[in-house]
Subunit: 103 residues, 2 copies
């Protein structure tokens, strides 16, 4: 039995938190994004973003890799396969709750 602490319907509280939902949505739309870019889009402090990323990484939803741009190392973020699946399941759960358009 895999205990995730989440109901079986795909609703995922780890993803549901407002900022993390935005992070996942953002990352779902691209292959990867720079930490700084994500920070700008969310308009949050680096510490807050870093902590949310930690949570998502602990859940196995996000992974990082570092690459140099403009002489400086930067963190690139991307959803893992698990993360993408969980995110899409969560969105499906949200749609199930609020009703799809056309309902």
């Amino acid at each position: 039995m895999t205990t995730t602490g989440e109901p079986a319907d795909g609703f995922d509280t780890t993803i549901h938190a407002p900022n993390r939902l935005r992070i996942c949505a953002l990352l779902d739309a691209v292959e990867s994004a720079e930490f700084g870019t994500v920070q700008q889009q969310l308009d949050v402090s680096a510490s807050v973003l870093s902590k949310h990323i930690s949570v998502l990484m602990d859940a196995g939803y996000v992974a990082q890799n570092k690459a140099v741009r403009d002489t400086r190392q930067r963190v690139w973020l991307h959803l893992t396969e698990t993360g993408r699946t969980a995110y899409q399941a969560h969105v499906a759960a949200l749609r199930a709750i609020v009703g799809d358009p056309g309902d």
Copy 2:
């Protein structure tokens, strides 16, 4: 200036909390619902539901009225106009974040 504490895009943390989102979604779909019915659908304790309803009432999103059914008084819940508007705006904000179907 009306300070709601929410960003202007319709995203509403009062509504976003998982159980409250479910409550609002449920109430948005009907004219009104009995406390007990909502409790069953959400599968939460009466105290937890009562507290969430309090929060929604404090926000002006939900109102109650009492009516007798089967000899007992029961609480009926419904979204206020403000509540319905806020809920629909929140759903729109969610769609803006996760992307509408067909994007």
